[in-house]
Symmetry: D2
């Protein structure tokens, strides 16, 4: 941590900073410049100490953090890539893993039709929501427990792992019985009560990036899962909120190489929620692969026109089949495979 003193700060003020730093076990190095004094604070845990404890002292102009606030998710903590293994499917290795299916589970027929279509096209994990966090209380909220049972039945029938969202901390262990992977939605990325429970469950988990979370905050949220001993964390970029309104969110494709640089965790991309419109999904899916994503989470519905939720961003089975062919060609050009 670097503490910049105000121009003309007194010796006592500098001493105040030094004392407080030593009181929490930090090493101190003073840099007395012509204009300003700068105090460097060194130690292995400065990323976890609040900058405020120094910023508030008299004579301090500003405090800059050098260490990142996340720890367990960092590549400095673990240098080799983490790979999450779901029934033999490795996420974070050479293979690019495609997860697809409807936004919401609506019926066993709908889910089975989706499972059949996506499996045939080459996807390896089925998605489907039984609990739907909706902006308005007057919208369809999901089939809940019934939806989970449909997921379990279709998983069995098609021998395909499933990923599904959990929204209440007290449902975690129950939902984990039905799901191979839990999903934390973007609006819950900093629902720490939920993260702690999922951490304890040890169930693999897709952690969606909050719609206005920095990459740093996202990796720090992952620390909540990792700190409880859950190593099966898969990050998922799904678009951030910006001023641009031609798509629902702005896919931050640059977050992929940034995550790869600073973290060991695998990262996948949800192009459907970012786009908000089926016509934009293929371009975003292809861009995500080219940027280095380890997988995709794509909405596919057997009949988008009749979908209860987010039909506009869902691909039809035939559009999805076409996209999968393109994705396979790109994967090969990158030296990976689907």
């Amino acid at each position: 941590m670097i503490v910049e003193m105000r121009k003309g700060a007194s010796t006592q003020e500098v001493d105040g900073v030094v004392e407080r730093a030593r009181s929490v076990g930090l090493e101190v190095q003073l840099n007395i410049g012509t204009d300003k004094t700068v105090v460097a604070l060194l130690g292995s845990n400065t990323g976890q100490l609040p900058t405020d404890m120094f910023a508030i002292l008299p004579g301090v102009e500003n405090v800059a953090r050098i260490m990142k606030p996340y720890k367990l998710a960092s590549r400095e903590f673990k240098s080799e890539n983490s790979v999450v293994n779901i029934d033999g499917i490795e996420i974070g290795g050479d293979r690019i893993v495609i997860m697809a299916g409807p936004c919401a589970v609506e019926s066993e027929e709908q889910l089975a039709a989706a499972a059949r279509a996506i499996k045939q096209a080459g996807a390896s994990i089925l998605r489907g929501g039984a609990y739907k966090p909706r902006t308005s209380p007057f919208s369809f909220q999901g089939l809940e427990r019934t939806g989970l049972e449909m997921l379990a039945s279709v998983r069995e029938k098609f021998d395909i792992p499933v990923v599904t969202e959990v929204i209440d901390p007290h449902d975690v262990s129950m939902v984990a019985k039905y799901a191979d992977i839990l999903q934390v939605g973007a609006r819950n990325m900093q629902n720490f009560a939920l993260l702690t429970r999922i951490g304890k469950s040890k169930c693999p988990v897709v952690l969606k990036r909050g719609l206005s979370a920095t990459v740093t905050e996202w990796l720090t949220a992952a620390d909540y899962l990792l700190a409880e001993g859950n190593g099966g964390v898969i990050l998922c970029e799904r678009g951030i909120r910006t001023f641009e309104d031609s798509a629902r969110f702005s896919l931050d494709v640059c977050s992929i190489p940034v995550v790869k640089r600073f973290s060991h965790l695998p990262v996948i991309v949800d192009p459907s929620h970012a786009a908000g419109h089926y016509s934009l999904v293929p371009a975003l899916a292809k861009a995500a692969l080219a940027a280095g994503a380890d997988g995709l989470l794509i909405e596919v519905h057997p009949n988008p026109k009749e979908a209860l939720v987010d039909g506009l961003q869902s691909l039809t089975p035939s559009d999805f089949g076409r996209l999968m062919k393109e994705l396979k060609a790109i994967a090969r050009s990158l030296g990976r495979y689907i």
Copy 2:
């Protein structure tokens, strides 16, 4: 809802829109322009219908919503201002209500010192967090149940109502026993499981705006509380996330007149979390009042340098006293009082 057809859309495509609209009970008016056909859909519940159900139909270019998605929070639903009564203190009337206190409850001494100072300066409600949602799992997470008991004891001793945050849906009824007002934090604005429980509890509630929530989404989240019959909803603006980094968040002062125009709910402002730095708090507090806020939520700590959380944005009792004098003068100039 206004459905714009693509240039050259066929008669069958237009008919498809008309049929779907009639199937959900909407009136239809066709506008056949020189370039494009536009279909207006009329009905009392178009704000709650998803635009997607039309946007996905063949030949449709775009769908624009005319009605707002929120309903119970709207001024069209209830034209006169709502006033929330806390033990005789009215929020949403002529009086401007000041809530103040430490970010986190740290000890009974600390809380009592804060209560004494803020009451003396003219604040009427005490704030203090027992459950702290923190970005990193390695930060102090609050005293939890012990903190609530300290709040109850200080409330008794100083005869002052308290507001405190709840973060887990399953704690709502327990926390409501200790608090006069529950607080939903910004990161939980769309934690719908939590909102539904608080709605059922009927306990007055401060609903902080999510850090990237539009005013429309904020009012729609309020609908979750109102739909369960909880009329004691107080909105709280606390800054939004933007590119500007000289303060922690950008206080959206314009949200105050916007809320007043479109909703009947009272709105208060938290200048402390927006600013992130004590030196900026007074200017934001004064601006909020001048823009029409019904109250303020300000962090005050007896000794900010020793605060466990957010000391940098906390005012000292003497700074708070000075600010209160300025706020009273501004309130008078606006024809209101504190």
Copy 3:
């Protein structure tokens, strides 16, 4: 244009809207709903009329625009893709065109070394700035006229077209003598005096997206160029300003399919300015191609460590060579070529 009247608006108020609409030659269709009256205004030029002229009338709640404000840049105006031809190199066709070179022209040796390297790797257009708009007046501002002469000399020697920025409207015709393509920088996207001059010059032009411009504003700025009869407009996405700070800007990769959907103009991508760091450039370059970009504008410097401007985001010739191989593989997988 759709004019939504307030609940309870009077007949006279509705008539006021109808009269004003007819006074500017629009057709009117009234939609009298149960709650509200909605007036649809139809005509071929509603995209260019200000919504304000109706929004300000008594009894009006809101005005929504259906037609886009841009006209000449729209796919409705011209349905087939525009192709810009630079000395036989087609931008906007099947070939993906790579423009590369240093941020700033520093010397003839530097520029020649860059030209040799990028040509050998397969790039077909040389970039280099002689006029540099810099955030601070104390930074290097470019070699100006001398830099242009170096560009001309290297263009001759290596037989490669050049693209260079112009920043003062009164320099347009002079710079156009040295350049094959003019560049409008992001900060000048709405410098309308500059756009008008470039429009009149008829010189092909790369129009960079403003760092907080919507796609709609970007296409409307292109209308300034097209309206003066300059058909050689090439759009360039270079990242937008958001809250995320791990890269210099957030590359809005989704703007590529959005532009392709709504406009006939070719679109290229500058991954270097978006990234701000050389380590992120390859991932963004590959993503841009996969998303459908017609070309790239990449910073390459023979010796980035000694660059006077933006060295950190410049690739070395050998890194660029490696990237070009990867880009060629991706282009092939997309059915295109470099």
Copy 4:
């Protein structure tokens, strides 16, 4: 400047940083921590040196700037407040200066009516645009030279100074003949060719904040004016671009105390462009005063319904009169006057 080395960086890599720093005359202090080495670079001009020159060196993880990039606009350069004197009217002193008038000069009658109304209500400077930078080339672009002559005539008749925008660098000296204050529009904040000319002209100037400029970039743009010897710089906050769409822009009210903390320049606020709607202007104007603004720039039109530009955000003379009474009361409560 603080250079953070990568974990495990070699001695040669650290030496490389030290050498480069010494080569540009900086003092160096090494901080060898347990995990990482941190190099502090000290000198009076580190704010003006590009961080890239160190970030690009081998073994460097990150470079953080301690000194701000602006210099002449900083309070460290000049500690007392600057006051700009326009014909005896002081901007930046105790008095709050109100500038008002139409967005665009439309006719001498319109301008005279506006001048009469605003002077009577207590405003002291007349605004009016003769050159209008418009998003679309098909919109009204201003009366240009004729408009300037109308401004000069009304200035004479009503004995009131005028502020007007200039958009082409080559018009600066001509426009300065007609105007008491030049205005640089938000979209031109980083039009450095324009800033340099205005700097040389020595004419007082209102520098609007760019719609996505940080406060730091805004003050650095002011350095362009100050570096040419023009001390008459007045900053103007006018709203920034964010995701919120209920107003045209989000007024960053916090920029006022931030500017006051870091700069000596006066700062005024334009609530009209921020709001985009007349109903929101009064709340923003009052908030700006309470936050410490030195003045306001408000759009007033004798007949907003007939305005050629931005009528929706213009106040009528009677609304403006009412607002001025409220503003005077607030100014008094702050110990200032209008």
